[in-house]
């Protein structure tokens, strides 16, 4: 329990979504400035908790992603700031580096062109690469018995304002599985917008918390209470968990949510009724199976058809590219 912890924070910095968030009246929105000042307080609290705690901040920008700060010094601000006798030095480095880089990045965007989708996947994978390296280097330098617990206790916190993008389903799932493998907890804090099904699954599968912020003026309190304690301590203080996670699948042919589906054994496409040819991989299925499945189906067909899914709600398995 006394292990130092590593925190990778992923900031969703979509200008459009933040503009919407700032204008929103119900629930009351929050401006990017206010958010950042609360965030800095939270990040400072994290590095202040323990001397060995490490921190990395990644920013997801439209169509891009990048590291904004790392306590091991990969990213440094170009400006050499004047020392301030009243501020703890690491706080000051963190604050100024983060603010400068975010300002630089956001100013370079052209507000007239349409916004590209947010680079959340890039951030997640980069954070995982970073944690992977941190784990491998720390375990090799300690030279303990192989398989010993890594000396860092890593987790990822995603602060999201953007909605789901169905095209990123597979990459996000892949990131979730690698996070499970590395024993990284993914926490999600949804500051603005509708529920994000992919991130809900991410939090659920990695044992993290998914928090939908209801009162944005209390954002700092949400973060301090739910995300500051490392996972080891969270078992003692009950952190809100997501009870209702939808793991049902949607068929590829009509996008209906199915309870009993027909799955192609080659590419794992899901169909709501027996089809002779797989629409994804063009595999032909034997006629015998089709007949057998049709015979077995009346039971399922008798049930009232499930209502088609609204696209915004997000599906557990949207259509795959290719």
């Amino acid at each position: 329990m006394d292990k130092p912890s590593h925190l990778s924070v992923i900031l969703d910095l979509s200008p459009t979504q933040w503009a919407l968030c700032a204008q929103s009246a119900n629930p009351t929105g929050i401006t990017l400035q206010t958010f950042l000042s609360q965030l800095l307080a939270f990040l400072n609290a994290h590095i202040a908790c323990k001397d060995e705690n490490t921190l990395a901040v990644f920013g997801a920008f439209p169509g891009q992603s990048g590291m904004l700060y790392s306590s091991t010094g990969e990213i440094t601000s170009a400006r050499t700031e004047s020392t301030d006798a009243n501020t703890y030095r690491p706080f000051r480095t963190l604050d100024s580096t983060l603010m400068t880089l975010i300002a630089e990045r956001l100013e370079s965007y052209d507000s007239t062109t349409e916004e590209a989708p947010i680079g959340l996947v890039g951030c997640l994978t980069k954070a995982l690469c970073y944690i992977n390296r941190a784990i491998t280097t720390s375990s090799s330098s300690v030279t303990e018995i192989e398989g010993a617990v890594a000396s860092v206790d890593p987790r990822i916190l995603v602060l999201s304002v953007s909605p789901d993008q169905s095209s990123t389903y597979i990459p996000i799932m892949n990131s979730i599985f690698s996070a499970q493998k590395l024993k990284v907890t993914i926490d999600v804090c949804k500051i603005f917008g509708a529920e994000n099904v992919f991130l809900q699954q991410a939090a659920h599968l990695t044992g993290g918390a998914y928090v939908q912020v209801e009162r944005t003026d209390a954002l700092l309190q949400y973060m301090m209470m739910s995300f500051l304690p490392p996972p080891a301590i969270r078992q003692l203080i009950s952190v809100p968990t997501q009870d209702r996670v939808d793991f049902r699948a949607a068929c590829f042919c009509h996008k209906r949510i199915v309870e009993i589906g027909f799955v192609c054994s080659v590419c794992l496409s899901i169909f709501c009724q027996p089809v002779p040819v797989c629409s994804t991989c063009r595999t032909k299925f034997p006629i015998k199976t089709l007949q057998r499945l049709r015979d077995a189906r009346p039971l399922a067909a008798a049930a009232p058809p499930t209502k088609p899914l609204a696209p915004k709600n997000g599906t557990a398995t949207p259509a795959r590219p290719g």
Binding site: G261, C264, F285
Partner: protein, 452 residues
């Protein structure tokens, strides 16, 4: 046994995780020195080396010495660390250079793991004993196997006292399989093994399976004998007919019948040289195998290996729901999954419903297999930075700084190694370090640059 002084250097490279056959130059040294103390090891090593070089020389001792110590060079500071890092990286990267061509892989797998529980397993040539090591690796194998093949099923069969013994039923739940091989005292080695009995038992437990799933037998074999009631070649023919793929990891030495079993059924055969090599051989069997061409030639037009499967996607009951009995363990529980066809409550997915036999999965399980279907393109090694106008200073994945000067290692430019330690994605043209290259392809399956 105190290791001879000459072994030191070799030992540093050959730590458990990275000891590969691929670092052949170095492997020679520890195995040669080790064999001084162990009579048995001599045969084994010779056998294996002979196999690898069988095409050029008939015998291992006719091969010229690999002067492994000459490939290691000190850097300016007189340290070996850089050279060692390079060698380790090379071994890891070689694994990635597998063919990138599109192959159809079997997603739904059925495997029977056959464990040798004969008295030969009490041999101490692998620490602590062959038996303990086998159990330990088998557990890791099962965990990793289910991670990569979430829709697969594993059954466990033991060979002891001349009989095949069913240790674990075919199950899709890793916990069940792990539980079957967790109790060491129930698996105490004893008597002679019987390959034929074990294979027959494994075969019969897979006879009912549909054609679109693969049938595989993986045998961990430590003995040099087998005690069979009939002709094992008949069993081999039956396996061929049933399209069962047999793979064997031998711990002692190569046996003709083992090699025949593997080669004729399209499996893999290997003799473990040491602990690390044992693990490597076993773990090579984890990624789903390419589907065999035999299966496709079966019928013109329709592919007998493809089929439509019926699956149920259950709702998860919340932890706060009223408790009820589950059909799998008959325990009172509030959480669980309801079979969508018969509404029976099961504890865990993926599984086959105990009441109506419907295959119950959740969408993440299907998603876990997608990376086999959409792999990341291999990164190209960057040889020089001359044609790159503005090279990035840091790895695009983990932001570690690249080295400025090319490595001076002998032969570092060959074998797909980049002298600069940079590997470039063909899609997004970002550079990655060796660690991230391996991590992205082995674990994440998603390029941080292009997000595909």
């Amino acid at each position: 046994m105190a290791p001879p002084a000459g072994r030191r250097i070799g030992d540093d490279f050959v730590d458990d995780s990275d000891s590969d056959v691929s670092i052949t130059g170095l492997e020679d040294e520890p195995s040669r020195t080790k064999s001084k103390g162990k009579g048995k090891a001599i045969d084994r090593n010779k056998k294996d080396k002979g196999k690898a070089k069988a095409k050029e020389q008939p015998y291992a001792w006719e091969a010229s010495y690999t002067r492994s110590w000459e490939t290691v060079q000190e850097d300016e500071a007189g340290r070996l660390e850089g050279a060692v890092q390079d060698l380790i990286a090379r071994g890891r990267r070689r694994r990635l250079l597998a063919p990138a061509a599109a192959i159809r892989r079997t997603i739904i797998r059925h495997l029977v793991l056959v464990l040798d529980l004969s008295s030969a397993m009490m041999d101490r040539d692998m620490r602590p004993t062959r038996f303990d090591l086998m159990l330990q690796y088998a557990r890791e194998f099962v965990t990793e196997w289910f991670d990569q093949n979430p829709l697969g099923q594993i059954g466990v069969v033991g060979m002891r006292g001349g009989l095949g013994e069913r240790i674990g039923e075919m199950s899709g739940n890793p916990q069940d399989v792990l539980k079957a091989i967790s109790e060491r005292h129930k698996l105490e080695p004893n008597g002679e093994p019987s390959l034929q009995n074990a294979i027959e038992m494994a075969r019969s437990s897979m006879s009912h399976l549909p054609t679109h799933s693969s049938r595989e037998i993986t045998i961990i074999f430590g003995s040099l004998t087998t005690c069979d009631p009939g002709n094992i070649h008949d069993t081999l023919d039956e396996c061929l007919k049933d399209r069962i793929r047999i793979s064997i990891v031998a711990l002692a030495a190569e046996m003709k019948i083992c090699r025949d079993l593997c080669e004729k059924t399209g499996g893999q055969f290997g003799v473990a040289m040491n602990e690390g090599h044992f693990k490597d051989l076993l773990f090579e069997l984890i990624p789903p195998p390419a589907q065999r061409a035999v299966a496709r030639a079966g019928g013109p037009g329709a592919n007998p290996a493809a089929d439509l499967m019926i699956m149920g996607f259950p709702m998860r009951l919340p932890d706060t729901s009223p408790p009820s009995l589950c059909v799998c363990h008959s325990q009172m529980k509030s959480e669980g999954f309801l079979c969508p066809r018969c509404l029976a409550k099961v504890c865990d997915v993926p599984t086959d419903c105990d009441i109506c036999g419907l295959m119950i999965v959740s969408s993440p399980h299907l998603a876990r297999s997608y990376h086999h279907l959409f792999p990341v393109k291999p990164y190209a090694a960057v040889m020089s930075l001359e044609d790159t106008p503005d090279p990035s200073k840091r790895c695009h994945g983990c932001s570690v700084a690249f080295r400025d000067t090319p490595s001076t290692m002998f032969g570092a430019a060959g074998e797909g190694m980049s002298p600069l330690g940079r590997y470039r994605c063909p899609e997004c043209h970002n550079d990655f370090c060796t660690d991230c290259d391996v991590f992205v392809h082995d674990v994440v399956h998603c390029c941080p640059g292009c997000g595909k």
